[in-house]
C-alpha cells in the first residue's frame, strides 16, 4: 500500500479545471517532484494534499486513511511556502517552536527540539534573529526547520527556492535533499525548474494543464520523454517531424521535392507505415564529424549549415540548418572554436539516441502512467 495516494483527483474553479483526473502513488520515504509550467496544476495538487483546497472530485489517502475531508490543521503535514511565510513577530526559534507550542510540548522539550532543528538546517547561532534580519536563504531554512519540528507525516514544499538567488538555490536544494534522506520523510516538492526537479528527486511527475504528462525517475524523464510536451519542457530537445516508413523515419530535409529526403534510423518501434511521428534527439547526443572522418556504421548523418552559435558557459550551442528545420547541437566549449557561423558541417548521431513519438491527436485521458512505447533501454 502506498504511503500517499491520489485517486482521480480533480479541482474545478467555476468552469475551468485546474486539475483533471490525477492519479498518483507515493511510497514512504520518497522524494517526489511535481514539475511543470505555471498554471499546470502542480501547486493546486500540493495545496489539496495540505488541506488548503478541497478537491472537487476524487480521494486522497494517507497511510490508507481517507484524509480528503480532514481540515488542514489536523493533517500533520509540514509545509514550506514560497517565501516570507515566517511569522514576522517571532524569532527564528519561536517560529520553529510554534508547532510544538500548539502540541503543548513542555518548554524544556521545545527548547531541545528547536536546537536540534536549528542544527539540522545549519543555523545554530541564528535562533534569536527575527525574519527581517535573515537573508532569503536563511528564512527558508528556518521555514524548513519549522515544518520539520513537529515530525510531520509528510513534507510539502511549494516552490521554496524560486524566490532565491541562483547560488543560494543550488546550495539549499542539495541541503533539502540531504535532510530529507537523513530523516527519511516522504516529500512532495513543487517546482517549475526542471534542473531542480531532476537533480534531487526520486521520481518526477511532469504536469501540464491539470494533467500528468509523464511520471518516472529523472533519467527516464530526461532520456525517454513520452510526450511532446515533456520532450520540449525537459532540457533542450530536438524534435524532427517525419513519417514512419519501413522501419525508418522519412524526414523531409528539403522543401524542394527534387532533392531526396533523408531517412533516419531510430530505436525499434512498432508502428504502421505512414504514421506521423516526431524524432527526438538531445543536442548533446549529436556530434560533428570532421570532413574526412568516416561516419560510424548504422549512424544517422545529416549535413547542414551553422546558423548561429550561443555561448552557454561549459558548452556552445550551435543551431544547424538542415533543409527546413534546425537542429541544436551542443559542443564542449574547448572544442567549439573551430565551428563558426556559416560553416557547413556533417552531423552524426546514433539510432539508439533517437526516440520516436507518435503525434497522438486524441486528448490524453486516463493515460496509464507507464509509457506506451516498447522498452527503450539501451539496445
Amino acid at each position: 500500500m502506498s504511503y500517499l495516494q491520489l485517486n482521480h483527483i480533480s479541482k474545478a474553479y467555476g468552469s475551468s479545471m485546474a486539475v483533471q483526473d490525477v492519479n498518483l502513488q507515493i511510497q514512504s520515504g520518497e522524494f517526489i517532484s511535481l514539475l511543470g509550467p505555471s498554471g499546470c496544476g502542480k501547486t493546486t495538487i500540493l495545496r489539496m494534499v495540505a488541506g488548503f483546497e478541497r478537491p472537487t472530485g476524487g480521494m486522497i489517502a494517507l497511510e490508507g486513511r481517507d484524509i480528503t475531508h480532514i481540515s488542514a490543521n489536523r493533517r500533520d503535514m509540514g509545509m514550506v511556502f514560497q517565501s516570507y511565510s515566517l511569522f514576522p513577530h517571532m524569532t527564528a526559534s519561536q517560529n520553529i517552536a510554534f508547532g510544538l507550542r500548539v502540541k503543548r510540548m513542555a518548554r524544556s522539550q521545545q527548547r531541545l527540539r528547536v536546537h536540534e532543528m536549528l542544527d539540522l538546517v545549519g543555523l545554530a547561532d541564528k535562533g534569536d534573529r527575527y525574519p527581517h534580519q535573515l537573508s532569503g536563504g536563511q528564512q527558508q531554512r528556518v521555514a524548513l526547520a519549522r515544518a520539520l519540528a513537529i515530525a510531520p507525516r509528510m513534507l510539502l514544499l511549494d516552490e521554496p527556492l524560486s524566490a532565491l538567488d541562483a547560488k543560494v538555490r543550488l546550495q539549499l536544494r542539495n541541503e533539502i535533499r540531504r535532510i530529507q534522506q537523513q530523516l527519511g520523510i516522504t516529500t512532495l516538492f513543487v517546482t517549475h525548474d526542471q534542473e531542480e526537479a531532476l537533480s534531487i528527486s526520486d521520481r518526477v511527475v511532469v504536469m501540464s494543464q491539470g494533467r500528468i504528462e509523464q511520471e518516472g525517475v529523472p533519467e527516464e524523464i530526461y532520456l525517454a520523454p513520452s510526450t511532446p510536451f515533456t520532450a520540449s519542457f525537459i532540457g533542450a530537445m530536438n524534435q524532427i517531424p517525419g513519417v514512419w516508413e519501413q522501419e525508418q523515419v522519412r524526414v523531409s530535409t528539403h522543401p524542394d521535392t527534387n532533392i531526396p529526403n533523408e531517412f533516419l534510423q531510430t530505436q525499434p518501434i512498432d508502428l504502421a507505415n505512414g504514421t506521423a511521428v516526431i524524432v527526438l534527439v538531445r543536442p548533446e547526443s549529436i556530434s560533428i564529424l570532421s570532413p574526412e572522418a568516416a561516419a560510424p556504421p548504422d549512424s544517422n548523418v545529416l549535413s547542414g549549415l551553422i546558423a548561429s552559435r550561443v555561448f552557454l558557459g561549459s558548452i556552445v550551442r550551435l543551431s544547424v540548418l538542415i533543409g527546413d528545420f534546425y537542429l541544436k547541437v551542443d559542443v564542449p566549449t574547448d572544442q567549439a572554436e573551430q565551428f563558426q557561423s556559416g560553416q557547413v558541417v556533417r552531423l552524426c548521431f546514433m539510432p539508439e539516441q533517437c526516440r520516436v513519438l507518435t503525434l497522438d491527436p486524441t486528448p490524453k485521458v486516463d493515460r496509464p502512467i507507464e509509457s506506451k512505447q516498447p522498452t527503450y533501454t539501451d539496445s
Binding site: 495540505a50 488541506g51 488548503f52 481540515s71 488542514a72 490543521n73 489536523r74 493533517r75 500533520d76 503535514m77 509540514g78 509545509m79 511556502f81 514560497q82 517565501s83 516570507y84 511565510s85 515566517l86 511569522f87 514576522p88 513577530h89 510554534f98 508547532g99 507550542r101 500548539v102 502540541k103 527575527y130 527581517h132 521555514a143 519549522r146 515544518a147 513537529i150 510539502l156
Partner: protein, 288 residues
C-alpha cells in the same frame, strides 16, 4: 543658458544653488511655523509680572486640569472605539468576499470632512429635535430625559467617531492587505486552530499598526477644535476650547496661559506621534 552660468558662481560654490533653491520653502517654514512655535514657547513663560512659570502652575489648577483630563478621556475613548471598529472594518473589507471602492471613497470623504458642518449634521440628527431623537421618542426612548445631550461629552464622542472610524479604516487597510495568507496557512499546517492563530499570530502581527493608528486617532481628537466649537461653543470642557477663549474671549484674555496650555498639548501630541513612529517602524519591518 546653464552652461554659461556654470562657469561662474554656481560651479565654485555648488551649495549656493542648492541653498537658493531651497530658500523659498525655508523662509515660509521659518516665518509661519518655526517662529510661531518659538514665540509660543517663549510666551508661555511670560506673565504680567515678567518671566515665571506661573502660567504652567495655573494650568494645574482645578479648572484647567479638569479640561486636560476631559480632553484626554474623550480622545482615548474615540481612539479606542474608533480604532477597534476601524480595524475590524478593514479586516472585513480586505478579507471578505464583497469589495466596494465606493465605500472607500465614502470613508475618505468622512475622514476628511468634519469641523463645522459635521457638528450641525449631528445636531440635526441627535440633537433635541434631531430626527433620530424623534424616532427614538416615538418608540418610547427619550435620551434627553436620561440626561443625554448632543452638546455634552457623549455627543462629542459620537461626533468624533464620525471621522475616527473611517480614518482608522484607511489607516489599517494597507496593513491588513499586507497580511500574508502564508502566515495563516503556515499556522494551520502547524496545527493551530482558528483561535490559536488569532491569539498567537493574527493579533500580535496587527498590533503595531493598530497601536500606531490609535495613537494618530488620539492625536487627531486631542488637537481638534472646530467640531467642538461649532457644536457647543464654550460649553465643552476641552483644552482646545479653553485656548480659543483665552485668546478670542473678551473677558478671559490671557495669552501666557494659552501658550502654556498649548505647549503642554504639543508635548502630549508629540508623545502620541512618537508612538506612531515607533510602531510604524515595526510595521514596516514586518510587513515587507
Amino acid at each position: 543658458m546653464t552652461s554659461i552660468q556654470s562657469r561662474s558662481l554656481w560651479i565654485r560654490y555648488p551649495w549656493l544653488a542648492t541653498a537658493l533653491g531651497l530658500a523659498p520653502m525655508a523662509i515660509g517654514l521659518i516665518g509661519f511655523l518655526i517662529l510661531p512655535i518659538l514665540i509660543m514657547v517663549v510666551g508661555s513663560f511670560k506673565t504680567e509680572q515678567g518671566w515665571s512659570i506661573a502660567n504652567y502652575l495655573n494650568t494645574m489648577q482645578a479648572e484647567y486640569f479638569k479640561s486636560f483630563v476631559n480632553t484626554l478621556v474623550i480622545s482615548l475613548v474615540t481612539a479606542l472605539v474608533g480604532g477597534v471598529l476601524g480595524t475590524l472594518t478593514a479586516i472585513v473589507l480586505a478579507w471578505g468576499p464583497f469589495k466596494s471602492s465606493s465605500l472607500l471613497t465614502l470613508a475618505s470623504v468622512a475622514a476628511n470632512w468634519g469641523g463645522v458642518p459635521l457638528a450641525f449634521a449631528m445636531i440635526t440628527t441627535i440633537g433635541n429635535s434631531g430626527w433620530l431623537t424623534e424616532i427614538l421618542r416615538m418608540v418610547g426612548l427619550d435620551p434627553y430625559r436620561q440626561g443625554f445631550t448632543v452638546y455634552g461629552n457623549i455627543g462629542l464622542i459620537l461626533t468624533y467617531l464620525y471621522f475616527q472610524w473611517p480614518l482608522m479604516l484607511l489607516l489599517m487597510l494597507p496593513a491588513v492587505q499586507r497580511f500574508r495568507l502564508a502566515w495563516r496557512e503556515a499556522a494551520e499546517s502547524l496545527g493551530a486552530t482558528r483561535s490559536q492563530f488569532w491569539q498567537w499570530v493574527g493579533i500580535p502581527i496587527l498590533l503595531p499598526p493598530m497601536i500606531g493608528g490609535m495613537a494618530l486617532l488620539f492625536a487627531n481628537a486631542f488637537g481638534a477644535q472646530a467640531t467642538a466649537f461649532a457644536l457647543a461653543g464654550g460649553a465643552l470642557n476641552l483644552i482646545t476650547i479653553k485656548i480659543t477663549f483665552l485668546i478670542k474671549g473678551q473677558t478671559d484674555f490671557n495669552p501666557g496661559l494659552a501658550n502654556a496650555l498649548s505647549v503642554e498639548m504639543t508635548i502630549v501630541l508629540a508623545i502620541a506621534v512618537t508612538i506612531y513612529l515607533i510602531t510604524n517602524k515595526r510595521t514596516r519591518e514586518w510587513m515587507q
